[in-house]
Symmetry: C2
Subunit: 349 residues, 2 copies
């Protein structure tokens, strides 16, 4: 549709306006464009074209007799073209990051940090959602008379533990039996494969200890789903102060608040409403954002995968005039690396 209403010259001018605005953050006038582009057109001509572009809704004037700035529609046009263009290459950088992959947690923290440093925007990364991730290992151990420790290891060496209280001590034999039972039946299963039938079967086999099994299972489920909703690592939130249009006290405070609160970030990152292609990079511009405190921002998100199921999400929040090109590149690169890193289960330590 854009192709029909914009001729080539308008596209060029629009791009020039946006690029210039991305750099300066100031409204851009006709004279600037007249020189900035290689079109060799006078400012007057540019003015006419700009007037058209404004009518079409791609740019707006903050006030009469100011330059133009891109509207959300303008940004959208720019981004769409950009992504279409860039969808081939996935560069390899930041390899160094992989060294420090001791734990999922520190890995993700690092990812957020690297991304924030590279882009100078605020970033966030969700921990892989364990849905459709596979169990690798389960172990119960008696810590003392009344406490049992359950350790669950998932693919990708995500380890979770939980302490369960029991009424009376479990003897060694029972412990062994339960461990055997759990491992033989559950190993290699994805979470959503643990259904009621399986649970019933397990309980039967546990005999008089069925109650313990159910407690354990409950705790396993709990262990896994627990506060997965809350596992978001953020970094570079204070970068927003680098952009005057976001750093007035009220806006900055609200923004930083949502970054600290994290809950709404989870919702944002797990938002599947808009995007058709699950696997692609999502861009929310201004009002497109599902979070009201980010109406003046743009958000770029992408999901990374592990094994078969969809896993986690990385996201970047910045001003609308963010350097989409750089951001998309960075996210793609990181996404690629995470995919690779997490699928390769041999790698760990």
């Amino acid at each position: 549709m854009a192709d029909t209403e914009l001729d080539e010259r308008k596209v060029k001018i629009l791009n020039a306006i946006i690029k210039n605005y991305l750099e300066t953050g100031e409204p851009v006038g006709s004279r600037t464009i007249s020189k900035y582009t290689d079109l060799n057109l006078s400012s007057a001509t540019i003015r006419n074209e700009m007037s058209d572009l404004e009518d079409l809704g791609y740019i707006v004037q903050p006030h009469t007799s100011a330059g133009r700035i891109p509207s959300d529609k303008g940004y959208r046009f720019y981004v769409n073209n950009l992504i279409a263009e860039k969808d081939k290459e996935v560069s390899d950088m930041q390899e160094w990051m992989i060294e420090k992959t001791e734990k999922m947690e520190s890995l993700l923290k690092n990812v957020a940090k690297v991304l924030a440093t590279n882009t100078q925007y605020a970033t966030m990364v969700t921990a892989p959602s364990v849905v459709s991730n596979r169990l690798k290992f389960i172990q119960l151990s008696a810590v003392d008379e009344k406490q049992v420790l359950s350790v669950v290891v998932m693919d990708g060496n995500i380890v979770k533990n939980k302490i369960i209280n029991v009424d009376k001590p479990l003897d060694n034999e029972t412990m062994l039996k339960l461990n055997m039972l759990l491992n033989t039946n559950l190993n290699g299963l994805a979470i959503d494969q643990i259904n009621l039938a399986l649970i019933t079967k397990l309980k039967e086999q546990a005999g008089i200890h069925d109650e313990i099994i159910s407690q354990v299972l409950e705790s396993v489920a709990e262990t896994i789903t627990e506060d997965d909703d809350l596992q978001v690592y953020t970094s570079g939130a204070t970068n927003i102060f680098k952009y005057p249009e976001l750093s007035d006290s009220k806006k900055a405070s609200e923004l930083l608040d949502t970054f600290e609160e994290k809950q709404s970030l989870v919702e944002l990152l797990s938002d599947k409403s808009a995007g058709a292609d699950e696997n692609a990079i999502q861009v929310y511009i201004g009002d497109e954002s599902p979070i009201s405190t980010m109406k003046d921002c743009s958000i770029v998100t992408a999901t990374y995968e592990l094994g078969d199921g969809v896993k986690g999400t990385i996201g970047i929040v910045g001003p609308k005039r963010m350097d989409y090109e750089n951001v998309v590149d960075n996210i793609k690169s990181l996404k690629g690396q995470l995919d690779k890193l997490l699928k390769n289960e041999g790698k760990d330590s």
Copy 2:
């Protein structure tokens, strides 16, 4: 010393000035004090006294012909008196918080949050330092051929795990033996009790598996000390926007940065230089702060204990005109609860 250079009337006036400034955040003038206090003195007299107080360094004028605001020395005087006065009572509130004590981590997050909500300042809490904390339980398990999972449980149910790579698979028997060895020798020991002699002894007993033992021990040490330095939970950092004197773009950005970076917070919270009494509440006012970005803030910290050794620290950062009284009360109350909660090892779930 303060007693010698300040007579009772000056103290009253100084207190009045500080209290008023705590409320308003505006420089306070002589007329205000003249009415505010029950001294029945004219503004002129107050002016004379204020002039004296300024000479003595307790208050300063932001500029000629403005009211006075407390200097760091003034705050210090106020705080010293305050704490001396309040050192008896430890109130009990926020009992509800205890319910959610599933894990140390979420507990501490909650502590930070509660404190931030109650005080409206920025707060931070360090995880208990495991030095001189006792080992309760160790378990090694083979996850697959090349990976061994080590789980370490400390007093207070702090659980840490780590995956160790091994060259060749360990058979069940060896595993059992190693577990036995580790648990019989190490359980109940504090970290600093695991010395070279003990390690040598363990290795000897492990026979041909001494290398594995040393790997495991290394990993245990690593597991425990790992990034304990980095375990700081913060909350309410954005509260600083509530205080105009801190919320100009530059200051706010720097402050929030140190809160995000966390590393310097660790140093701050583990700073033992100033305070004589380890167990008391520490107050840093303005320049007394070891962190340069907090020169315009005041910081209140306190340590909480578990078992025998010193444990973690809680801290509050706010404007110099913070409500010291409320803050101290809150910290004391929380400190008391944490002490109680963590010492009582029966409680868990």
